[in-house]
Amino acid sequence: MTEAALTPREEDAALAGEYVLGVLDLAERAQAEARLRRDPGFAALVADWEVRLGSLNEGFAEATAPNLLPQIEARLFPKHPPRRSPIAAGLGWLSGALVAAVLALASIATLAPPRPDLVVTLTTADNRLAYRVTHFGETLQISRVAGVGAVRGQVHELWLIAPDSNPVSLGLLRDRPLVIPYPAPPAGFVFAVSIEPEGGSPTGQPTGPVILTATVGDA
């Protein structure tokens, strides 16, 4: 077969081209994507093809796009509802004076050097697997604080779900903390972790079992 005549280099170049063209089936595509993430040489071949085949982009005619910016920005830059201090919320039954005193203490506490805010902790009921999501400055940091990552060939993928929206992938969770530029997600947003094939969900939506969820603002 002619396939056998390809050198390994040609084989890789052809695969990268097939990936960029998009002709691979779902499973092959997921494999190529996984390789893309761990093999910089292959990633460079893919980038070369994106530029090469990009010459065909003239073939795409423009089409009227509705202004979807409001929806996109609502996903990306959630407006912060006035967040009640968790301390004040928890002590709502106390007298006003006491609350004022507690708040005074709390505001002194906020003068301390800035530290990442805990957003949510995603944990299994038995605490054997846990990820902690914190926010600092303009970034979210997600670290595994208990348990181990997914088994070989699979990966944990983190999702953020705004109210009444589809999940948005925030990235793949590995041993190192994941750091992504993102504003502080407001109460009501849900974080979820699903198990996906190595390389991440091939569809852009969770495909495997969702193993962890946590809602921002829930104690």
Binding site: A13, G22, D25, E50, V51, N57, Q71, I72, P181
Partner: protein, 177 residues
Amino acid sequence: MDDPVADLITKCAAGDRAAFRTLYRVSSAKLMGVLLRMLRERAEAEDALQEVYTRVWLRAGRYDPAKGRGMTWLIAVARNLAIDRLRARPEPHSDDALDTVQDSTPRAETRLVAQGEARRMADCFDALEPERAAAVRGAYLNGLSYLDLATRHAVPLNTMRTWLRRSLLKLKECLET
């Protein structure tokens, strides 16, 4: 080289939301064209457009202006999302869907502006057998899978794969010489 789209993406990577809005204004018609052509359904294309710009903002830091033009990168993000969605659809596509994509822009590459890369790409496409060039173009612009292509060109899937891989390597060789 002057590339305002590249500048806007770079600003997005730095968290500039005004630049993000401008980027949407200057690029959404092109990306909508990409998504509409590949996904073939307006509602899905509009949903995908939101997802594309969400990814653009979150991944803007990965864009390297030295490696290619801004619009090329944006279209790559849009095409990747469209292909993911197409491959996740149950195969095979209906004949209807295939009919609607029968070369609506025949020999698109000949309309390319006659300059640099694009000009060379057109020449290299011309060096391929017409049917094979059409297969590469159909895959790129319409998001056709090997199965779609094999059906459309009435050849076994493995034959199509061999054709296409060889065509890709020929193109690569041609562009590198």
